[in-house]
């Protein structure tokens, strides 16, 4: 059983825990500048959106070159985004995105 990624988990924990602990230990740290608080608030949506977009749109070919792709993953993302925006229900968006993908593949309409 591989344990390699436990090291990655530890590193991720090392950069996550201070953001939870330091303000609790350091009174006054809540006085972040306005732009700092705004930036922190915007980082989440931007990183997550970039992760989704790059995952479905950019693939690396056999020669190691990144190339643009359009596939069923796009549709799954669109379905998930639309449902989460409409119903504010992440699980519903996720399940429907997966279901649409499975159905299209079962019908032979997607790879």
């Amino acid at each position: 059983m591989s344990l390699t990624l436990v090291g990655l988990a530890v590193l991720m924990g090392l950069v996550t825990y201070p953001s939870r602990a330091v303000p609790l230990l350091t009174p006054g740290l809540e006085r972040l500048p306005r732009w700092g608080r705004d930036y922190l608030r915007l980082v989440g949506p931007a990183i997550l959106a970039a992760l989704a977009a790059v995952n479905v749109a950019v693939v690396t070919d056999a020669a190691g070159r990144p190339t643009f792709q359009v596939g069923v993953g796009w549709l799954a993302v669109v379905v998930a985004v639309a449902l989460v925006a409409w119903r504010r229900n992440l699980l519903l968006g996720l399940v429907c995105g997966v279901l649409v993908t499975a159905l299209l593949r079962a019908a032979g309409l997607a790879a």
Binding site: Y39, A46, A49, L51, A53
Partner: protein, 234 residues
């Protein structure tokens, strides 16, 4: 919470994590969005430094939670604060802040109950999801491979509460794909994730009315933290 833990366990298994690796991430990191992100990045061959950098920024929102709870922890010991920080996630923040406000004081048992509602189901459901993955012979046929991008996109929408978030997310998408096609997917994700917010900051916010900010303070931090919607993840 449990449903997402199951999905995370499934996705981690699909990405090649061992059971110990998937569970270690849930125990040590305890931050759903960054764990989902790490699963996708590991599967895509991203470097560890890139994953750790994105984790730092993705989880930096905890600073807002921690800062807004800090006044309630006044007088508590350093060791108690250090221990309490472990389970400070979206739901812990929302539940405990509401509880403290209702009581008008800090309540240790209430805080740890809120933390328990996050930690126990998340870790247990990770194990359930990973185990359930063994029973699925062909995950791709069932569409399990699109769980990651769909979850990331859905989480991004869940975090949007105004015009600036929309602009930051769209800029993240465009920068991510554009830079990713030139310099590779990992660089694209980092560029989109860190450059998107800069574009978002340049956009007019819904609350911009020309008045100067009062410069911060705990009420500001609490108000900012309260604008982060709960996602159903730790």
């Amino acid at each position: 919470m449990a449903a997402f833990g199951i999905v995370y366990g499934l996705a981690a298994r699909q990405a090649g994590f061992s059971a110990v690796e998937a569970l270690a991430m849930s125990v040590i990191v305890l931050a759903g969005a960054s764990q989902f992100a790490a699963v996708g990045l590991v599967a895509g061959g991203a470097s560890w430094p890139a994953i750790v950098l994105l984790t730092f920024f993705l989880n930096a929102r905890h600073i807002l939670y921690s800062a807004s709870l800090a006044p309630w922890f006044q007088g508590r010991s350093r060791s108690e604060r250090l221990a309490s920080a472990y389970c400070l996630a979206d739901e812990t923040f929302a539940l405990s802040l509401a509880h403290f406000r209702r009581l008008g004081r800090f309540d240790r048992r209430g805080y740890w109950m809120a933390g328990g509602f996050v930690v126990v189901p998340w870790i247990a459901s990770t194990g359930v999801g990973f185990t359930a993955g063994q029973l699925i012979p062909d995950p791709t046929r069932l569409g399990i491979d699109v769980v990651f991008p769909a979850a990331m996109a859905g989480l991004a929408v869940g975090l949007i509460s105004g015009r600036r978030e929309v602009v930051a997310a769209l800029a993240g998408v465009l920068l991510g794909i554009g830079v990713g096609l030139v310099l590779g997917p990992t660089v694209g994700i980092v560029a989109g994730g860190l450059g998107g917010p800069l574009v978002g900051l340049a956009a007019p916010g819904a609350s911009d009315d020309g008045r100067p900010s009062d410069g911060g303070g705990e009420r500001d931090a609490e108000a900012e933290a309260a604008t982060v919607p709960a996602l159903g993840l730790p």
